[in-house]
């Protein structure tokens, strides 16, 4: 049964649009799946390989801007952005990895955080290429209906899920975990840690970049503050994985569902909308103190906590 869980979930999501949901619900579903993809990508680098990145907005934004610039400067369809961003973002991650992967732990976190900010400030200032703070706007959207967008992002998410799953079940996956647990020990066992960390970073970056390119196509508008946002992209990505479950296959999905729904619910309550970051921050603090491995990772602990609460009531 457990073995078929991914396929059953996939079948469930494939038939979901036939239920005839409103566009709003479809929009929420698309967001959930997009964030799941980004969460899966972050989890590969942060959860399995142990390199906690605070700057996934850099890859997301570069992917988004690849699609945007193809459209605005070369007059190509922004859908080309999805395959092309794989190449561009992989290259970008490779170059960035050359710098940031020399660092460990908190230093890596800070350097990646800085990389995201550098990209945001650069894209604000390189007005000729990116359009500066005005951003890039797609004149016409491909479809008005959301169904096709839904299937495209679902395909991307499924591909990301299976790539990561296959990778983690292979030898490379064990190398990643070995690097996370003790980099020096891994190196002394003959694992080329720099190579495997670069592989994890490039793959993670490319998956995030594809999600970014999709975002451009779906939203039809990008600007530096949105796609390179520290709080809106990088921190939310970390929160999705932390809430869902670090180093679990299903964690990013659970986290994305919770975070997207929570954001929508908070925004829909009048007077509470401006406080959503406070509530997210409190959620993050509570999760770290009580469920440090996330809902999926600490599911037994969670069940026990709920069970105790249920017994006392």
């Amino acid at each position: 049964m457990r073995k078929f869980a991914p396929l059953i979930t996939l079948a469930f999501f494939a038939v979901l649009p036939f239920a005839g949901f409103s566009t709003y619900i479809m929009h929420i579903l698309i967001l959930v799946i997009m964030w799941t993809t980004i969460g899966i990508a972050w989890n590969l680098l942060g959860g399995y390989c142990g390199q906690v990145s605070f700057g996934h907005a850099a890859y997301f934004g570069v992917g988004a801007y690849t699609a945007g610039i193809l459209y605005s400067k070369l007059n190509l369809s922004p859908w080309w952005g999805i395959p092309i961003s794989i190449v561009i973002v992989t290259l970008f991650a490779f170059i960035l990895g050359f710098i940031v992967l020399r660092l460990r732990g908190p230093f890596f976190a800070l350097a990646t955080l800085a990389s995201g900010e550098v990209m945001r400030i650069s894209s604000e200032n390189l007005v000729d290429i990116t359009g500066g703070s005005l951003g890039i706007m797609l004149q016409e959207r491909t479809w008005v209906e959301k169904t096709w967008y839904y299937y495209i992002i679902l395909m991307i998410a499924v591909a990301a899920f299976f790539v990561v799953k296959k990778l983690m079940e292979s030898k490379i996956g064990y190398y990643f975990v070995a690097i996370r647990e003790d980099q020096d020990a891994a190196e002394s066992l003959g694992i080329n840690t720099t190579l495997y960390k670069t592989v994890a970073l490039c793959l993670s970056g490319a998956l995030t970049g594809v999600a970014g390119a999709f975002y451009t196509n779906y939203m039809g508008y990008i600007d530096p503050h949105v796609v390179f946002g520290l709080h809106d992209i990088s921190i939310i990505t970390i929160m999705i994985v932390m809430v869902g479950g670090v180093a679990t296959y299903w964690g990013p999905f659970v986290g994305a569902v919770i975070m997207v729904l929570l954001a929508e619910i908070i925004r829909s309550i009048p007077g509470l909308g401006t406080a959503y970051q406070t509530l997210f921050g409190i959620l993050l603090i509570v999760i770290i103190i009580f469920l440090p491995n996330g809902i999926v990772g600490d599911s037994r602990k969670l069940a026990r906590l709920v069970g105790i609460k249920g017994a006392s009531q």
């Binding site: 906690v52 770290i288 491995n293």
Partner: protein, 306 residues
């Protein structure tokens, strides 16, 4: 005159560098003792700035006097954060060791968002009477070949920063508590064996770090505008200084702050204002690649610092 512009830029950079050093000092102390990066550092400064702002608006307390009000308050806030939020996490087992860093991100988010809710996201500035005053070199030296100006609030803030830094240096090197803090930073286990209350020192250090950044916030109030999202940018500045200076090195943090101030001032004069933050990161990355130990490692080589 080109030389004039250059010298003016240098002076300006030096003045802001002194304030940056104060921000960096708090960060480096926390990092040295606790081995974690406090990503809520800038938000703590933002809180101190709001304290100074409201003190001025409501009670007409001069921002420079607010240093004596905001610093103890921020010390208390830092102690509370460390005691009730960060310490419990140190004990929890988890897959990722960066949990504490992510926790400070959460704290920062809450602080900056609460500020937005309570004070709105308006840009505010404190209308002190001396905000635009300046001293001119030609007023004192009539035949001076070049003209330089020193803004009054910038200079007073700089002097305050220097005094606070000297007091901190005395505290760290002459008092028992200060020595215990340094011992904890050097080797926690050894310090514990020597009878240092490491747990208390962690709490005190976080408090002092917050107090320092609180003082820096009050000094920034007369020269800078204030808005709730300002914290993030100063957190980045603080960690760039910390890396530049070398981890946990106080001398390094001071030098790092001055270098960053001058460098930033130069980029904004010669490349344009928008690029100043990029210059900050260029120096950060260059430092990580070419000088991973920071300025402190150079000093150590010449046996100047500890």
């Amino acid at each position: 005159m080109n030389l004039e512009v250059f010298l003016q830029t240098l002076v300006q950079g030096l003045l802001i560098g002194g304030l940056y050093a104060l921000i960096g000092l708090g960060m480096t102390l926390i990092m040295g003792v606790m081995k974690i990066i406090n990503l809520a550092h800038g938000e703590l400064m933002m809180i101190a700035m709001y304290i100074a702002y409201w003190m001025f608006v409501l009670f007409h307390v001069d921002p420079y006097m607010s240093v004596f009000i905001a610093t103890p308050l921020l010390f208390g806030l830092g102690v509370a954060l460390q005691k009730f939020l960060i310490n419990p996490v140190l004990k929890v087992d988890s897959i990722l060791p960066e949990n504490q860093v992510i926790l400070t991100v959460g704290i920062g988010m809450v602080l900056s968002n609460l500020a937005t809710i309570f004070f709105k996201s308006d840009y505010r500035s404190t209308p002190v009477s001396y905000a635009t005053d300046a001293w001119y070199l030609s007023d004192y030296w009539k035949t001076s070949p070049i003209e330089l100006s020193l803004s009054v609030p910038w200079t007073v803030s700089f002097i305050f920063a220097v005094v606070i830094t000297i007091v901190l240096w005395f505290f760290l090197s002459k008092t028992d508590t200060g020595k215990s803090i340094r011992a904890t930073a050097q080797d926690q286990d050894a310090a514990l064996l020597m009878g240092v209350n490491v747990k208390l020192m962690r709490v005190v250090t976080f408090g002092i770090g917050s107090g320092l950044v609180g003082a820096a916030g009050c000094l920034f109030i007369p020269i800078y505008y204030l808005y709730p999202a300002l914290g993030g940018q100063f957190t980045l500045i603080a960690f760039v200084i910390t890396i530049l200076g070398g981890l946990g090195s106080t001398v390094g943090a001071i030098l790092g702050g001055l270098i960053l101030g001058i460098f930033e001032s130069m980029t904004s004069t010669y490349l344009g204002m928008g690029w100043a933050p990029v210059g900050r990161f260029v120096i950060f990355v260059a430092c990580l690649i070419f000088l991973p130990g920071g300025v402190a490692s150079l000093l150590r080589k010449r046996k100047l610092g500890r």
